[in-house]
């Protein structure tokens, strides 16, 4: 486990940390969990000519954070009718995924070690997503919106 989210994290050692994290995390789809599925190839395709930008939505869920259905829906709605690649970046093992699968069937999950900070999750997810336009949606601390029937949370 790599300590993250401290003041000591400088720009110079961030790249090294990212490589260490890369070994510790996997990308997976809800329907085939357990199958490693890095999407670096999709990220490489960003440079190919297209008529419209590719859009990605990163949902950032550090430990004990949740995102409400309304916020996720709003994040998706902001891009209109465009196809959006949804990536949920979690610190620790996510639970209660069924609601999310219903809402965003093809969401991918980026599983980082427990304790990974919000900023590191964001950076790691950014390295993975293929979007030209990437929207980042941060979850809220669990006690704050526990009454809102959380869509997904990390334990």
């Amino acid at each position: 486990m790599v300590p993250v989210g401290t003041e000591a994290n400088s720009n110079s050692d961030r790249a090294a940390q990212a490589h260490e994290f890369a070994d510790a995390m996997v990308m997976e789809k809800p329907e085939d969990r357990g199958t490693l599925g890095p999407i670096f190839d999709r990220a490489k395709n960003r440079a190919e000519p297209r008529r419209t930008p590719r859009v990605s939505l990163i949902v950032v869920l550090p430990e004990n954070h949740v995102v409400s259905p309304d916020r996720l829906a709003e994040g998706l709605r902001a891009h209109g009718n465009q196809d959006v690649d949804v990536v949920v970046a979690c610190a620790g093992q996510p639970t209660n995924l069924s609601a999310l699968q219903r809402s965003v069937g093809d969401a991918q999950f980026l599983l980082a070690p427990a304790g990974t900070s919000t900023e590191d999750l964001r950076e790691l997810a950014m390295r993975q997503v293929p979007g030209d336009i990437v929207t980042l949606l941060s979850g809220a601390l669990l006690p704050a919106i526990v009454a809102e029937s959380p869509l997904v949370m990390t334990s």
Binding site: N11, R14, A15, A18, R46, A47, P49, R50, R51, T52, P53, R54, I58, R71, E74, G75, A78, E119, D120, R122, E123, A125, M126, R127, G131, D132, I133, V134, T135, L136, L137
Partner: protein, 362 residues
Amino acid sequence: MSSSRVLSVIVPVRDGNATLARTLTAILASELPRDDYELIVVDDVSSDSSPELAARYADTVVRLTARKSGAAYARNRGAELARGEFLAFVDADAMVRPHTLPRMLGILSDHPVLDAVSASHDQTAGANNIVSQYWNLLLHFGEQRHAGTSGNVASPCAMIRRHVFLSAGMYDEWRFETARLEGIEFAQRLEDAGRTVLSSKDLAITGLKRWNLRSLSREVWDRSALLARSLGYQRTRVAVPSDVVFTLSRALAPAMAVLFFLAISAAFVPTPSASIKAAIVLMGAVALNFPAYLSFARARGILFAIAVAPLHMLMQAVNGLGLCAGWVLRDAVGDREPDAATQAYAEVGVEIWPPVPRASGR
């Protein structure tokens, strides 16, 4: 993410690893409720990890691909995505103070007659080498002198009503691929359209970029060449429509530069009075720039003003040469335009991502 955010803060960046984190941290430390603004970073084909660094702080990161297109183009792409009623443009090497954005927002909210407001550099510099200190002080000096109702609606930090920005045609991404002059051209365009721009002395930011002799010379060269080739030419044509005066005014800048170099050269002719000639020329140069040197001395002391005098003269020489080059290019080649392929794409109207630069300001 709320759809009712008041402000969209847009930060264009290219290879900004050295300063971007401080810039974004400063924006997030603004005395504004976090839900009141969105932070959009537009990466102009960086070769470093600027997009990943931006993702640590931003709500939206736009990754441009294919070719570097400049800050004007990047800001326009950010504005197209923005949903705030007001747009704030902050350079990736500028550090706002906690009250800068709230005060700008307050000024525009309280004064409906104002359409845009711009901040200026303060006297401090993020880097402590003498070149950076000098350049920040010079920018501060120039911006303070010209503060009032004209400004630079782009660098280092400016805020504008979104509907005004869009209706004015956004930044001219066609001509301003290099140099930071698109904000000056845009401010002029706004004023021509009857809009009001306030350049405030009291709203200040700190420049973070570490300049060296080479990068500063390049910056001054780009600015002066583009100024003479494009922006200055257009301004002169508008201000001086008479053919005779127009021709004379076109010749003025290169003539002054040539005279300057002749004077400097004459000072070094090996005659018994060479040192006297040199002293006279130097005194003339100092006298012409006395307000600037006075400003340097007040900010950093007399020794600093003396120390940067050779640097200031060198930059003036680069500026003169750049102006000459700009005028020559204007006559030989014409106004600044994108490469032929980009022009062809624009003419045909091909729809691609990232979009082909548009000549919005013309």
